[in-house]
């Protein structure tokens, strides 16, 4: 228990209840924006339905990092609790979306999203 506490203390920002500067916060926001943009590019370019949903999970992840960073910046746990709800929505979305993907696969024997182009109005 003690070694674990020491480990997290070394790993964590050592001055936890202390101030986090806006410049440090900005680092985390940029990382989160990078992840989000990569997820977005993946969602647009990939044609495999499963990968497309994986890319939405990537975007959820980016939002989570931004929420936790703001939570640390404001020394407030609300951002962290929000990530719990992000996880919940991600789990629900994964269950429904993957069930849909399996349905679509059974119909066309293929995961290609462009096979469903006749859906467009």
């Amino acid at each position: 228990m003690n070694t674990f506490a020491e480990f997290t203390h070394v790993l964590a920002q050592s001055d936890y209840p202390g101030v986090m500067h806006a410049g440090t916060l900005y680092h985390y926001l940029v990382t989160s924006a990078l992840l989000f943009v990569i997820g977005l590019i993946g969602f647009v370019t990939r044609r495999n339905l499963i990968i497309m949903f994986l890319c939405t999970e990537l975007m959820f992840q980016a939002a989570g990092i931004a929420l936790i960073a703001f939570s640390r910046f404001h020394l407030n746990h609300t951002g962290e609790t929000f990530v719990i709800f992000v996880l919940t929505i991600a789990a629900a979305e994964a269950a429904l979306a993957l069930a849909l993907v399996v349905l679509l696969f059974r119909r066309k024997e293929s995961l290609d999203a462009s096979l469903w182009q006749d859906l467009k109005g």
């Binding site: 964590a12 500067h21 440090t24 680092h27 940029v30 992840l35 990569i38 993946g42 990537l58 992840q61």
Partner: protein
């Protein structure tokens, strides 16, 4: 008289009726435009306030990094012909390095923890591999790597509970579901043909246009974020916890002929950042409603930095009535300040059971004492009693509020409705998944035909008669 965070006006001292009082505070139009302008006209505000961006990041390096990143991601995405994925990955690495360098140069004296760079590079690199790897199983495995790296970022940000929850829920549960579906929804390779990549996995759709749009979005986002973050008010850091709400003496203001109106209760409170306070009044154990025209019980009062006095009017109450009131101020949204103010039970019982470190037979807290505040930096507890005698004792190690406790209390205390909604959503998702899974689906005519063609080709190559081939093809199409 100055006692940890609160100064109390003695009777006879005059309080200033301050403009931060909700009755007097007016909506400041310039403030709303100041907030809205960067939202609606990002580029205008960048031009108008050119110093906002260089405060946090070197703009030229940042935009060079964005352009490089766009080039690298375009090269890394799978495409027709030879796709130079390794070169693309290296260019993206250089781009991320340039962006971090741009941020580091602007904040040399407040760089983040060194582990931040490690975890960020791993997260971004693995994310790039998620979108660029042609095999879906590897994409899912690289996504797990992204999850692990971002949970490392969570630990750096002192969110230990969410870090572990992320690994358990995402890497443990959601990604396993993904892997299952990837296995379910790919055709198993036959013995003759080795496992071939599907056409839709080998070529991506419009990689150049998507990447350019994506990185223009990134450049705009980082620019606007720099403007926004430089305007954020920094939290001062939790120095301690105020346990007991502060009782405030009643000011003896002007009295009119009828002796009915006690003008206000006043206290001066030091504020080093904007905070809101709740005012509660109680007579004995009964909490009373104050006049709704002036002040409702529990109504927050805004306090701006540097403004250090506050006044609470009681209209329609005699001095005697007012004198019997216990009025106190509680910080309404000061993060953990409020959190601990709502956990007195645990601390009270914990402190009353705590024993002195020197002699385990002596209780830490005397019978007539209660906890006033906790100082986190020196790990001490300030105790007080009815005669305002103050005694400082060391904080027992098991009474510290950790991250799990903080998250749990915020969750249950501030978002109970959201928990219910999340439960309903999960239930609906479960029902929906069951309904979808039980639905019978007929294969498309085109897909059926294609499957028949495929099995016919296989059969023709073999020594089996054509008639047997057709029956096996139709049965294979149904399965």
């Amino acid at each position: 008289m100055s006692r940890s965070g609160f100064d109390v006006l003695r009777p006879g001292e005059h309080a200033i009726f301050h403009r931060s009082h909700p009755l007097l505070s007016s909506t400041d139009p310039s403030r709303s435009t100041r907030i809205l302008r960067p939202l609606f006209f990002p580029f205008l505000s960048v031009i108008a306030e050119p110093q906002a961006l260089p405060e946090l990041v070197q703009p030229i390096l940042l935009y060079i990094g964005c352009a490089l990143g766009a080039l690298g991601v375009t090269l890394a995405l799978p495409r027709r012909g030879t796709s130079p994925q390794v070169v693309g990955g290296l260019i993206v690495g250089a781009a991320v390095g340039a962006i971090f360098l741009a941020m580091g140069l602007a904040n040399v004296d407040r760089l983040p923890n060194i582990n931040f760079y490690v975890f960020s590079f791993i997260a971004v690199g693995a994310a790039l591999r998620v979108v660029s790897h042609p095999r879906p199983v590897y994409s899912a495995l690289y996504f797990i790597l992204t999850i692990l790296a971002s949970s490392g970022l969570y630990v750096i940000l002192a969110a230990e509970f969410m870090a572990f929850a992320l690994i358990i829920v995402y890497a443990g549960a959601i990604l396993i579901t993904y892997l299952f579906v990837i296995m379910l929804a790919t055709e198993s390779p036959t013995e003759e043909q080795e496992e071939a990549l599907q056409e839709y996995d080998r070529y991506s759709r419009e990689p150049l246009a998507a990447t350019i749009v994506g990185f223009v979005l990134l450049a705009t986002l980082t620019t606007i974020m720099a403007n926004g973050s430089s305007q954020l008010v920094q939290a001062p850091g939790i120095k301690g916890y105020e346990i007991a709400s502060q009782k405030v003496n009643l000011g003896s203001g002007e009295m009119d002929d009828t002796h009915r109106i006690s003008p206000f209760v006043a206290a001066t409170i030091r504020a080093d950042r904007p905070m809101s306070l709740r005012v509660r009044a109680a007579r004995g154990s009964e909490v009373i409603d104050l006049d709704p025209n002036t002040l409702e019980t529990g109504m927050p009062i805004k306090l701006e930095p540097g403004e250090n006095s506050i006044a609470v009017p009681f209209v329609g109450m005699s001095d005697e009535q007012a004198a019997r009131l216990d009025v106190w101020f509680t910080p309404a949204s000061a993060g953990d300040l409020e959190l601990l103010a709502q956990l007195p039970g645990r601390l009270k019982s914990g402190m009353s059971e705590a024993r002195s470190a020197d002699n385990p037979k002596i209780p830490l807290m005397r019978e007539d004492e209660w906890v006033r505040s906790i100082d986190l930096s020196s790990r001490t507890v300030t105790l007080t009693n009815h005669t305002d005698t103050i005694r400082v004792v060391p904080l027992p190690a098991d009474l510290e509020v950790n991250n799990v406790e903080g998250v749990a209390f915020t969750l249950l205390n501030e978002h109970p409705g959201a928990i219910e909604i999340a439960g309903v959503i999960l239930l609906m998702a479960m029902l929906g998944a069951v309904v979808l899974a039980r639905k019978k689906v007929e294969m498309d005519d085109a897909a059926k035909f294609a499957a028949q063609q495929r099995s016919l080709v296989v059969v023709d190559a073999g020594p089996v008669a054509p008639s047997g081939g057709i029956t096996s093809a139709s049965s294979g199409g149904k399965s």
